[in-house]
Symmetry: D5
Subunit: 147 residues, 10 copies
């Protein structure tokens, strides 16, 4: 089976050759850009229908289908990210983590936000003083239960 | 000067004694809950006006004013957070970090989202299948400039 | 408010003075031993009813009630545990982690076992060749969803 | 001799080509799924009989027999696992480790659960509110002895 | 209950006041020096009989008995020891670990040496070219079993 | 010159082809099994005579002689070993390190056991309740000297 | 697409073949030496105009253009640099970091110096007692804002 | 002798009581702000003259003189700083470190910039688009010498 | 017994009160400055004669004698030292370690320099171009022996 | 350009083929053994004259000249060295670092020993009780200056 790494390399190559944007790819397979990109980068699996659409859209070989649908091992190398764009989000978690915990407990009680039953969107807010990045995370609240 | 740690302990004590919610405190000083809590936890400084309001609202001693307005040293002990609520956000950055980088570059070009010129809101989305936590981050896009 | 650490110290003291086993305490408050102990060690919060029962059972002071019901910050100091009893479980995760992932994906599809909607029991299996420890974990399967 | 890594790659390839599930493979060699998968992933050795059966079942080359029977070096790269499925078990050990220690000592005295004289099963519990993963670990209690 | 740390401090104080060697203490309670010292340093628990003898021998207070018999949490601070005497043993494991693994597997098959059903002795071998330290470890071989 | 890694790979291949045990190899070159294996694994150098015998015994190519006699760089990748067999020895050093220090100082004064002027043997002690691994380390005591 | 690593290797080769200094390259593409070198080493992207000039100046192949303009993932391997030249700057941050924080807050209020809207120059100050390296960093002050 | 930590706490207290800015303190003892602050924070020693001036200016007790003049042990706790202001400088070293190395070698040959024979200034550059922080480091170039 | 930490604090206090240099203290107890200081800082034990002399010379209390003669646990907190003076020696080991290994093996054969049967001296070499620090280490060569 | 790694491999091969000792190589190019070896191992650059001599002496290809003269990036993989020969020096820095700091400050004032304006020699001291390794480091004292 094609590995997720090989799959990602192939997708990047085809995306460039076909001059497709990520927005166009996501829209072509009926998924949001964040989820579509994460699957193309090997961090999520696709269901059969969007996987087939992606194979067609990007003219991928037949064995890419199984690779797109395979359950990925989610892994990252840097315990603390170095790239400034990603580090800033790490910093936000460091600075605001206890605040988020405090407010979620106040609003919902003891529990957490799921990172599995979860979605994320990234939007551009135009602003004359400088455009702004808007990141929206939406995760199911999972209450701790006793037994 | 009162330290930020002593200040936080005092605020938590007064908050409990006065039976005030964080929402009520934030609204009482004219700030959003996330920012207000982060300042009360010692991770942000308050401007003079909200600091004075907080001193009044929570019946803090006079020297709390300077402590509220002091520039904090933002620090955290766990390079990888252990608390499940906070860890899930760390995991989101690990899993979706490269995806966020890819999409922000596609939408904005080379640059990052500021973690300084930045705001965050935490909302509750009621849902019969389980309420959902909605976290919205909004940061200015800072383009890399050459020189 | 009494801290979770002070609460745990007090519980251990009262438990010894009253010669109560953990099994007895758990049964006295209507919870399983694992959950009851975890709450007494400060790693979980109790709902109001079992919290009140525990205050009565262990003759705790009145302000213990709020501490028992407070949302804990779950934290541990050793990234790799040193105590042999706990290390062996860490080792099991290291050795069998990829196996567990493989089989859970085969049985359930892409997703994870929740560590929040979760219960655990520890039992003794008598055996002439040496008694055996039986640990049963039961967590809700959370499927990854696309969006 | 074939390495364990090469062996695992070959097994995965053959498993896919023959469309065999892990359950079927385990049953075909007379072992539980957890042990069978762990041996196929290179984390355990097989005795001669199940090794021969596996060679036949998966049509492996002759030199796979010695590789299946070789004593593995058990190793993992991430001190803290990143994959969410595996991380949740790590989190369980962090949150409940001291609880497990407390209860095992109460039930058995000073000692540990063996991770060597040990078995594990993973089952699916069907549930209308969402199926549940049931993990059962069963290890011999090893008492500390003085000398 | 007296903590293990307080217990150890008290034992060291009494040992010095009574001018007792560790050999004498071990012999006085009917245990080997290694086990006796490890229990006095808080790394093992004593059974009731030697615990009572130690309380008498070192004139410890009555509540030391429970502390001596309590199950310890075995913990150490330095992942890599700094003290040269201890580091040399760490180095031996680093240099000879794979050799020990190779030879134990050749002699015993797949399995490990127990660190629980285990004893250790430290002896002095007189030698005109310089006395020698002789450390003997004796642990039960635990074979991996399949299931 | 052949590297130590290439040498080890070649030795393992020849050992398997010639169906020689490590005991037989050690005895064939007049050294103890522990030292012989450690040299074959690239962690020690051989003197000329045993090196020549090993070349003959294992039918190694001529340039293996220099590689066997070369001073190795002793290195290991895991600061804390993961393999359970090796980890147990690490755990022993963690649990008993301060005990070993205490007893060696009592018997010998201030100093350490050499890990260089050192030997180790691994023996099998047959026992109806389960065979036992006996590891004997013998190192010169090196007293600290003042100057 | 050519990777940034391949691009850097090619640039270094061409630079040597053409006997061009970094000063000359920077001047040839109308950028400062620090920015030009950082882009050539793969740590910054070039805008189209200087990228085209660089392709011409260094006689790079056509597909180098996209690689020069691609958004880089900024990454470094050593959390603490080992090279003495780079370590000294790390040491400066360690020694003077709190001082810089103190003075920037005194001069500007609560906020930080941007590392994105940022420039750096490196100059040589001739001095009979030994020439001096002058490093000038210039970054926009970003005030923390409340919301 | 007063410790550096006690000294720093005392200086901060007196600075606040006397309403002195760091600029004023530095100017009062005839040193640059960066050096003066670093000495007050315990990271540098003062010569006798400025130390005496500081004792007078801040009305410090007599034994502060020796503490100000003592050679400090320069130490910091976070291998990677967490405070955003300090982290940005760490990031600059990570991103631009190899660039700085490349250009310093081109300008000066093989060697380093001294962090000892070194000075630093922090200035404010007023700018309608946002004021800018200007950090200037000036260190002696130390060439590697052969011997 | 007085701890080594308390002993060191007392020695520093007495040294200051008596205006004694380390050179004078070392000479007063008949030892080299390096060894004398290391013992005063708690990193080495003194034999009875110099210990008694030190007690007299520094007017230490009677129970300091046992503390001076006790076997220390050698420990340091920073795996990589931060203080520039100590870091430079760490850097020397990093840069020249393989060189030292190469030359010691060429001169002496396979083995190491003892850090126990070892002495060190620190001297000042006056030089018009800047005085120089001369550090001389002298350790017994310990050859690896086979067995 | 030939990399430093390729250069080192080539030098080791030629050194063996020509049966030259490091002493002979160093003497042949007019440098001390420590510096010569460090340059051959890629940790220092050579000036043109000794570089040319080395090319001739070891019959290196023409492009080795530039590689020998290139400014190296000094890097090492193990934060704490594992090889016993190198570790002992690390241990010396850990044990005696604070002593070295104390004595250098007493002899020279506040400052450090340069690791750049630095030389090292390694000598053999013959001794009937066992030969001794003598390591001499000589570095310029660099005083901290205020500004």
């Amino acid at each position: 089976m094609m590995t997720k790494e090989a799959l990602t390399a192939l997708i990047l190559e085809k995306k460039e050759a076909l001059s497709l944007s990520w927005e166009a790819i996501a829209s072509g397979i009926g998924l949001s850009p964040v989820f579509a990109v994460s699957a193309c980068l090997g961090m999520n699996s696709l269901k059969e229908e969007p996987a087939k659409k992606l194979v067609t859209l990007l003219e991928l070989p037949a064995d890419a289908l199984a690779a797109l649908m395979a359950c990925p091992t989610k892994t990252w190398d840097k315990v603390i990210p170095t790239d400034p764009l990603i580090y800033r989000f790490y910093e936000v978690i460091g600075v605001y983590g206890p605040t988020m915990k405090t407010l979620i407990h106040e609003k919902f009680g003891d529990g957490i936000m799921s990172a599995i039953d979860f979605s994320m969107h990234i939007d551009k807010e135009e602003n004359p003083a400088g455009d702004r990045v808007v990141v929206t995370m939406n995760g199911k609240f999972l209450p701790y239960k006793s037994w």
